[in-house]
């Protein structure tokens, strides 16, 4: 009888000791953080930390040891100067809308929330550039630029809340990337703070190397917080197109949809966006309050062209004719804002509806050569159907950037395993057809296990040399991008 009792006492006492020790460590960390951030905020209570456990990926939860909000860039630099001595991981975070498990404390540590660095410092319309702090929300920048007749093209769907720091860290894209390109095409300069608190300015308004021998900003963009903290950026701007036409067409099957996409990407009207919603996405929209009359079982293409009025107007009928010739019997198009919004409705609604339909979902982000679109989508359907996991495809067809959404319930034993198995088979096929793991979401801790599919021994050495240069102990955002990036305090 004594055995189990003794065992219980020992267990209880060890929990007590460990909890006590943990709270001591935590209180020491808290006091160190408060010293480093006299003007900023330091959160350590469970209620305060709960909101920082996950990003847009949702189902993977990693509660940090603390969250800090530096009051400004100067305080962020001060924090970075002292961060090494904290001996805990440091994770930079903007709005937390990442879809790859990027800005989360996978190995514990301190999350640095950059929400206070939200100043648009300069807009130089004549020079087509602006200078912004890393916590500026994307749509706030758009709103500030619009009256000046210029815009910053990357447009991830999280625009109302996502920050430019997160956009640069994950090389964000969006619906209009087909013609306009992604974040890396628009970053002229990055101000980055390494873990010793040194501030480096890589590039600037002119977009070159600056006084450096090498163009280091290239490694910073898309580095997912693993190299340095960003404080501000210099971004390239474009004049706003005066006129936009939006087209919506539906197709009866995957083959004809693929043919339409192939014709569009080579068309001399240079569409800005070519988006696709599959029949499962159409069914999801049509059975919701966002229904907009799409035919059952159809594949929907959403296409946009823009430019000066006389030019873009001359391109309307050729694009409509292309969509009809490819097999669509219901091509709709408009240049009126209200009607255009209606045409976009199904595409925009789909993302939000996924969250309502399923307790959790994983969205993949592979990019494939477009000749393999139908084949790889069929693989998604076959694998998901066989596993009993609903899959909805809403994606950037012009770029070949797939976003299969696998809906599941993380509380159901085995569901997540099924999704991971489907994702693994999908990624293997993606690489076989010449594609890549991620087009705009980043790798985070969601796709890091697939990296050996992409990089051979030599290129893997080169990849790992980059964090080894700037952050050799992997204190910054460990276990991300490459899952062997573990911080050893």
């Amino acid at each position: 009888m004594m055995g189990p009792w003794r065992s219980f006492v020992l267990k209880a006492s060890s929990i007590d000791i460990s909890t006590h020790k943990h709270s001591l460590v935590k209180s020491s960390l808290e006091s160190q953080l408060k010293t480093l951030l006299p003007r900023g905020r330091v959160f350590t209570s469970a209620a305060q930390l709960a909101g920082y456990g996950a990003d847009g990926l949702g189902y993977k939860n990693h509660i940090p040891d603390a969250v800090v909000i530096p009051a400004d860039a100067e305080e962020l630099v001060g924090f970075m100067k002292g961060a090494k001595a904290l001996h805990v991981p440091v994770i930079l975070r903007g709005a937390g809308t990442s879809l790859s498990g990027g800005p989360v404390a996978a190995q514990g540590g301190v999350i640095v929330h950059t929400s206070a660095l939200k100043r648009i410092r300069e807009m130089n319309v004549k020079g087509f550039w602006c200078e912004v702090e890393c916590g500026v929300a994307l749509n706030d920048l758009d709103a500030a630029l619009k009256p000046h007749g210029v815009f910053y093209p990357p447009d991830p769907s999280s625009g109302p809340v996502c920050t430019l720091g997160g956009n640069v860290a994950s090389n964000a894209g969006g619906a209009h990337c087909f013609r306009y390109g992604v974040t890396s095409n628009y970053v002229l300069g990055v101000e980055a703070v390494t873990l010793d608190g040194t501030v480096h300015r890589f590039g600037g308004p002119a977009g070159g190397r600056g006084p450096w021998r090498e163009d280091w900003k290239r490694f910073m963009i898309g580095s997912e917080g693993t190299l340095a903290a960003f404080t501000r950026f210099w971004l390239r701007l474009l004049p706003l197109p005066e006129k936009v036409w939006t087209f919506r067409a539906t197709y009866p099957d995957l083959k004809t949809t693929e043919a339409a996409i192939h014709a569009l990407v080579a068309h001399t009207s240079y569409p800005a966006a070519i988006e696709m919603l599959d029949p499962r996405g159409v069914a999801m929209v049509e059975s919701s309050q966002m229904a907009c009359g799409l035919p059952e079982g159809s594949f929907m293409l959403l296409v946009e062209i823009d430019g000066p009025e006389p030019l873009v107007n001359a391109r309307v009928e050729p694009v409509a004719e292309l969509l009809r010739r490819a097999g669509s019997k219901d091509v709709m198009f408009s240049d009126e804002d209200e009607l255009r919004k209606k045409l976009w409705k199904a595409r925009k609604a789909a993302g939000g509806l996924l969250g309502q339909l399923s307790p959790a979902y994983v969205v993949q982000d592979a990019v494939i050569p477009k000749r393999a679109l139908a084949e790889v989508l069929q693989l998604v359907y076959d694998e998901a159907d066989a596993a009993g996991i609903p899959a909805v495809n809403v994606f950037h067809a012009g770029d070949g950037n797939l976003h299969p959404n696998f809906l599941f319930d993380s509380r159901v034993p085995g569901d997540l395993d099924k999704v991971e198995l489907i994702s693994k088979r999908l990624m293997q096929r993606v690489i076989e057809v010449g594609g890549t793991l991620s087009g705009e979401h980043g790798i985070g801790n969601d796709k890091s296990s697939y990296m050996p599919l992409v990089f051979g021994p030599d290129s893997m050495r080169l990849q790992l040399a980059v964090p080894a240069s700037f952050n050799p102990a992997h204190q910054m955002n460990p276990l991300k991008v490459f899952d062997n990036r573990r911080f050893a305090a």
């Binding site: 002119a206 163009d215 197109p241 080579a266 010449g434 990296m451 050495r461």
Partner: protein, 317 residues
């Protein structure tokens, strides 16, 4: 824990042309004519070329931008992947064949203009664009103020997206603005009307030419990277010290061509030193194919050593 065993090979690119994606893998030694020979059949083109007969590698090594970068961006946005020969002789795959990637650190853009320190490209995967079949070159000639006004009008409207090139050129004959338009024949009149409207508003002398190919300006001796709002005035200030200059107005890039002859490298060096402080202040830079690369700063030396060590380690099994 990795669910996949490490890869045993480097997935090197093999030559291909994907007419659906508009991508082409070809040797770094390929010339403009060799590229055109593969792409014309599919009504595709690679617009970022500076020279008709020199290898693509030499063109990309000489500068970051070409005239058509106004519309299509710098070389680094139009080269998607490379096979790269490391100093050890081993070849590694860098980048992708698809147009979008955020898989790992961006070695492609880092290496593309890094000189020979880390090795050299053996093959490129380039992004092609639709060949619309019709090219027209417009020349505006007038006072500096008129041309400055003209450039402003060309850039500060939605038309800017559709000019292949807006170049401010100075040479022995004076200054001019060159606009290159590439379009389907049915749209040519729309573009020409807009160009005539601008020429008329700035009282510039305006001529149109229909070349068989876009202009090949040759490799520059010195490349300066500055801001969009500074490049034209900088070109004008340096015009007396060079034989010819071409400013890519939207890119903030200035290609300088010096008179050949004695002391060429000294003259380039002097010019570079003169503008370097101004350029560095605004995150710009200079580069010349005739001069050795700048020495690394104290800060970047250890970073470079780490990268070089990794490259050296590629020899180790």
């Amino acid at each position: 824990m990795n669910v996949f065993p490490p890869m045993l090979n480097e997935r090197l690119f093999v030559p291909f042309l994907d007419e659906v994606d508009g991508t082409l893998c070809l040797p770094a030694s390929a010339t403009a004519a060799e590229i055109a020979a593969q792409t014309t059949l599919y009504q595709l083109r690679f617009p970022l070329l500076l020279d008709e007969s020199l290898p693509l590698r030499d063109q990309i090594t000489a500068t970051t931008h070409a005239s058509a970068s106004c519309r299509f961006g710098p070389f680094c946005d139009n080269i998607l992947g490379m096979n790269w020969r490391l100093p050890s002789g081993r070849i590694a795959r860098i980048g992708e064949r698809v147009v979008k990637t955020t898989t790992g650190y961006d070695w492609l853009r880092f290496l593309l203009h890094s000189g020979s320190r880390f090795g050299e490209p053996t093959d490129y995967v380039v992004r092609l664009r639709p060949d619309c079949g019709f090219t027209v070159v417009a020349l505006f000639e007038g006072t500096y103020t008129a041309l400055e006004n003209g450039v402003s009008q060309l850039l500060h409207s939605g038309w800017m997206h559709w000019w292949d090139a807006v170049d401010f050129i100075t040479d022995a004959t004076g200054s001019k603005v060159r606009v290159v338009v590439h379009c389907v024949p049915s749209e040519a009149a729309i573009f020409v009307r807009q160009l005539e409207r601008i020429a008329s508003s700035i009282h510039a002398h305006f001529t149109l030419h229909q070349p068989t190919s876009p202009p090949f300006d040759g490799l520059p001796d010195l490349v300066l990277k500055t801001t969009v709002d500074r490049v034209q005035s900088l070109a004008s200030e340096l015009s007396r010290e060079v034989e010819r200059s071409i400013a890519f107005c939207y890119c903030g890039v200035l290609h300088l061509y010096l008179k050949p002859g004695v002391n060429l490298t000294e003259r380039i060096h002097a010019l570079a030193q003169k503008v370097a402080p101004e350029l560095h202040d605004i995150g710009g830079d200079w580069y010349s194919r005739w001069l050795p690369a700048m020495p690394p700063t104290i800060t970047e030396s250890p970073w470079l050593q780490t990268l070089e060590q990794a490259i050296h380690d590629t020899c180790t099994p």
